[in-house]
Symmetry: C3
Subunit: 149 residues, 3 copies
């Protein structure tokens, strides 16, 4: 078991089974040492600040990141091959009365920084959105750097 | 005529005339072997699931990708220089009752995979949006890898 | 003082104090010679085309770019190290009756091109959005290329 997966186990957050892309694209695509990870939506549905609250949405962001990591593991074999998290884009299904989107997406960022430490710190954009695929409340994509192969 | 343009002709989808950027930016920008292609909106207007249906929107996504390819050809000279499609971001102008956004953006992804095969498979994020420039129903940007120059 | 900061002074647009990220992410992240700059929202709030007009929003986009440059300077030490602007993503908090989003984001693009000339020209995507963090009217992120270090 990889170092990162051991950490996840210790945190009580075992990697979920990877979920296949829902349409005609790949979960990840590599270019040189950079891996682009496709946007994935949360299983949790609803509008943050209306159907679900900030704390629930933050957990949904964390769980979405676990799904992204499961897909990355499937595609590259071992999460220890990630040497740095470069950037993340988070969308939050929210209405105009909900304004603390960055705190919601911290659910995903906190997890990466717990796992990868200083190298896990990343650039990020968090944005509110009217409608995500399948009515999900969170969507996250990211770009990571891999070790030389 | 390039191999890719020959394929497009055979599919009955000749490359349209390239359209100039509508404001102060470039259609593409190169960094090393990576080409960043600016977001382009569809000529088709309206809210998917309200003004136009899924099938019409999927065709709009395909036609938007043809416009992107026309711009890429203008800037790099030959579409055969693309060795890989890295990532795509698709926005769909939609209301909260429309949830199959990934199927709409497949209109663009299907075309790329028909043209570039295994190398055409890419990472992707599809997101619903309240308002696109000029009331368009689709907006697509992408990142591609070019051969060494 | 760097060449770029001298230009900013001459334009009457001195670099503002850098603002810390509002949640658990970094203002920038470097990967090779590419610097990813996190999304930053404008201090100006409101819905463009409702609370504030196109000209005010364009100034907000310019001021947001000044904030991004201040963060970049903090992280890399000198804005002259930027050799090229690669891409920009702009979100505009707007309602469905406002359609000239590209002109708003030109506020940021115009500034970069004034500063960096031909190298400042970039790929770009401008998109309308229902809700930005803290009710801001503009959000901008970018990717730039740095000189060899």
């Amino acid at each position: 078991m990889s170092r990162i997966e051991k950490l996840l186990e210790e945190m009580g957050l075992p990697l979920p089974l990877p979920k296949a892309p829902v349409a005609n694209y790949q979960g990840t695509k590599r270019c040189g040492n950079v891996l682009y990870v496709s946007g994935r939506v949360s299983e949790a549905q609803g509008v943050v600040g209306f159907d679900i609250d900030e704390e629930q949405a933050k957990l949904a962001a964390r769980d979405t990141m676990l799904d992204l990591l499961a897909i990355v593991k499937l595609d590259i074999g071992n999460l220890d091959k990630i040497v740095s998290i470069i950037s993340m884009q988070g969308f939050v299904n929210s209405n105009s009365s909900f304004k603390t989107l960055p705190q919601v997406i911290d659910g995903a960022s906190d997890l990466l920084i717990s796992l990868y430490g200083e190298s896990g710190k990343h650039a990020r954009t968090a944005t509110g959105i009217a409608q995500l695929p399948y009515g999900a409340c969170i969507q996250i994509s990211m770009v990571v750097e891999l070790e030389n192969s």
